[in-house]
């Protein structure tokens, strides 16, 4: 495996980690706000705030590791994506900032205002929508290089069927992943009313997840047929993903083994995400940057890969440790210890 492939794989793992942990976080915020709107907030909000307190900062690090690593490993991405993503990227930052600090202010600052839960909930959907534009851009057709200047074709992005299908998939996936996890968490906390509600949410969002995935494939074929052809070469990834989805949904439906169900949800997205990634290769930005053309120099590359892997070795056990201390500590989960 050459170093460029190793590098992009590790970066992709960071992004996958962000996908899962952030989805749980974003979706939970939305459910919390939705719960408040429908008068069911006392049921699920307790569960949600217990989970989120220690883990939200960790989520952010996955994201930062990804984009700092990406720019470091493939400096040309800074040039193309940096220029093109000025507006969507800035909006994403602002949304993340609102969410991150409102969260901290709300929980540590005592007051739970309507405005706060609204922003918290709404950013939970807007952020995945805005971040997904980066992946959409990678398919090509939205960035032009004219006279050595990079131009972002915003009009194309807003009127693109593919672009909107990705946004839809992002939002729906967030809700499904989050609901599946919270169902499991509620079952551990032995909170029956919350469990019932969240299980319903999980089942509700399961079908749209698969349907929007199919929609994305259809749209991809129209937008970037080269990539689409390659996904067919890696079809077994997506079949595995579907298989995991079916197992997960079945388990939740049968009210069995919610923890295992969530593992299968994670695997569902693992296969889909890596299938997407591997079929995307060698392009990082279609028609402009490949993992070979955009690669930094050998020395920096080696140091970075070592740092990435060390970062992963720190990140994953830390997450497990945090899970152990807070999520899976029975007393903490049931709310007996603070």
């Amino acid at each position: 495996m050459d170093i460029q492939l190793l590098g992009i794989t590790v970066l992709w793992v960071f992004l996958y980690g962000y996908l899962i942990t952030a989805s749980i976080d974003f979706g939970a915020g939305f459910f919390a706000y939705y719960g408040e709107l429908t008068g069911r907030d006392h049921i699920i909000n307790k569960i949600i705030s217990r989970y989120l307190s220690p883990v939200w900062e960790v989520t952010n690090v996955f994201f930062v590791f990804f984009f700092v690593g990406l720019v470091g490993f493939f400096p040309d991405t800074a040039y193309y994506y940096g220029t093109a993503l000025l507006v969507p990227g800035s909006i994403a930052i602002i949304l993340l900032a609102i969410r991150g600090s409102f969260y901290a202010f709300g929980n540590y600052g005592a007051k739970k205002s309507r405005v706060y839960t609204f922003l918290y909930g709404v950013t939970g959907l807007l952020i995945p929508a805005s971040l997904s534009t980066a992946l959409t851009l990678s398919e090509g057709g939205f960035i032009e290089e004219v006279n050595g200047e990079v131009k972002f074709l915003a009009g194309e992005l807003f009127s693109s069927f593919y672009s909107w299908s990705v946004v839809l998939l992002a939002i729906v996936s967030v809700l499904f992943i989050s609901a599946a996890f919270l169902t499991y968490y509620a079952s551990r906390a032995k909170d029956e009313p919350a469990l019932e509600l969240l299980r319903k949410y999980a089942l509700f969002w399961s079908a749209p997840t698969i349907l929007s995935s199919i929609l994305v494939f259809v749209a991809l074929q129209q937008h970037n047929s080269v990539h689409f052809e390659r996904t067919l070469d890696y079809a077994w990834f997506f079949i595995a993903s579907l298989f995991c989805f079916l197992i997960a949904t079945y388990l939740i439906f049968q009210r069995k083994r919610y923890g295992t169900a969530f593992i299968f949800v994670m695997l569902q997205f693992f296969f889909a995400f890596f299938g997407y990634g591997i079929s995307h290769l060698p392009w990082i930005l279609y028609d402009h940057i490949t993992i070979y053309s955009g690669y930094t120099n050998e020395t920096t590359g080696v140091y970075l890969v070592i740092a990435f892997i060390a970062g992963l070795c720190l990140l994953v056990p830390s997450l497990v440790l945090l899970m152990r201390l807070f999520l899976f500590d029975a007393e903490y989960v049931k709310g007996n210890k603070s």
Partner: protein, 447 residues
């Protein structure tokens, strides 16, 4: 920076300054406060003194709020590096991306242990185990400052590569990180962060004392913060002096501009303050310290100090940095003197460290120390102009060509105003609804 058009480059500068100017407040506290928390908890355990332990607990609670804002603004600048300066990142990214990545690594290391620290106060049988968790928090916060400072040092003193026909070759990332500017930059950033954090915490304590709260809790807090502040102030000043010597050797034009030193000469005088006559380059009403510039630059009153006469006109940075430099040093001297007097007063029982005027000065020192940080950073960044990468890439050439920076500036300005206001409001509420007095009662009851 003679043209003041609001083009993309200028707007990018403004937005970057806005984000960094706001972020640095929280980042500075983020680096220094963990050390003070750890110190307080340590003393609390060693002396079996619940007042110090309470201090650590309460500081940690407030700290979490500032960390949150620090994280989001840090993410903002991390992304804005690529969004606003894509050409710079494309070039410099090849050489200096390692410490950029390591900074996040160190911060993450800190954040994990901070989370554990906050949620496990009473979960261990021996309190010393809890204190041990504060160590990685301090290490992480200090290291993240170290790594990010090496990036800034690299921008000032680039090395670790060869430039052949506009292409970077023979890249050595470690040499790039450990460049000539690194020791003084890292030292000064870390030390001044410790200093500012100590002074801000002292100021808060003094503020409470002025309102009439004089319990032992506050006295001990003041003693700890001001004593620590004294040590850090000396450290900051010494490393500051070394920084001056670094500048004289490697970036003499930055020093010359800061000191309004127009003619290369020996026995160079140092001018504090004053007004500059644009035409004649004469300084009026400045306080002249004879030979002091030579001493600052080379440690020898007879040494020759390079003047702006040796610098091409389009490479002279804006001269208003003189005021920033003087402001920063002036405040630094004030902080050193204030903490020095406090430490002396502690020894000599004659002087009352709780004198109202003295406490007022300490309260004033809080915002002044933060102002000094801003002055210092703005001086460093503006003083490096017109370069974003010294002698290699000009700031104007590094900026994005995308439209919309102006709008983004407005959005971020609004965001930071809201965040700043909320942060202050939340902190005030947090401590008002649960004043130390409540927890102190608990302690008294248990005794």
């Amino acid at each position: 920076m003679s043209n003041l058009e609001l083009d993309s480059a200028m707007l990018s500068r403004l937005l970057t300054s806005l984000t960094l100017g706001f972020h640095i407040i929280f980042a500075t506290l983020g680096v220094g406060v963990p050390l003070l928390i750890s110190l307080a908890e340590w003393i609390g355990i060693k002396r079996n003194d619940p007042y110090y332990t309470l201090l650590a607990r309460r500081w940690a609670r407030g700290f979490v709020v500032t960390v949150a804002v620090g994280v989001v603004t840090g993410t903002a600048i991390g992304l804005q590096l690529s969004l606003l300066w894509p050409n710079f990142m494309q070039l410099a990214g090849q050489v200096i991306s390692l410490p950029l990545f390591l900074e996040t690594f160190a911060f993450f290391f800190e954040a994990i242990f901070l989370g554990i620290y906050l949620y496990t106060w009473d979960r261990f049988k021996k309190p010393i185990y809890h204190w041990l968790i504060s160590i990685p928090v301090v290490i992480g916060s200090t290291l993240s400052a170290v790594f990010i400072s090496t990036v800034n040092a690299f921008m000032n003193s680039p090395q670790g590569f060869d430039m052949v026909d506009g292409v970077l070759t023979n890249i050595q990332p470690l040499a790039a990180m450990f460049n000539p500017a690194t020791p003084t930059k890292v030292g000064h950033v870390v030390m001044s962060a410790y200093l500012t954090s100590a002074i801000v915490l002292a100021a808060i304590t003094a503020f409470h004392m002025l309102k009439g709260k004089r319990s032992t809790y506050y006295r001990k807090a003041l003693k700890l913060t001001m004593t620590a502040g004294f040590i850090f102030a000396i450290g900051t000043a010494v490393i500051g002096d070394f920084s001056g010597k670094y500048l004289a050797e490697y970036q003499p034009s930055k020093l010359a501009a800061a000191e309004w030193h127009f003619e290369t000469s020996e026995n160079a005088d140092l001018v504090v303050g004053g007004f500059l006559d644009d035409e004649t380059n004469e300084v009026k009403y400045g306080l002249v310290l004879p030979n002091f510039l030579s001493i600052l630059a080379h440690g020898d009153p007879n040494a020759e100090v390079m003047g702006l006469d040796q610098v091409p006109e389009d490479e002279v940075p804006p001269l208003y940095i003189h005021y920033l430099f003087d402001g920063m040093v002036g405040i630094g001297m004030f902080l050193a003197a204030l903490t020095f007097f406090f430490v002396i007063a502690l020894r000599l029982k004659r002087f009352n460290t709780e004198n109202k005027w003295f406490l007022r000065l300490i309260v004033l020192a809080g915002p002044l120390s933060v102002l000094a940080i801003e002055f210092g950073w703005i001086f460093s960044e503006v003083g490096r102009q017109p370069w974003i990468l010294w002698d290699i890439m000009r700031t104007g050439h590094a900026a994005t060509s995308a439209n919309g920076v102006g709008w983004m500036f407005v959005l971020f300005l609004l965001l930071y105003i809201v965040l700043g206001t909320l942060c202050v409001t939340v902190l005030r509420k947090m401590f008002k609804t649960n004043p130390a007095e409540n927890e102190l009662e608990e302690i008294a009851r248990r005794k």
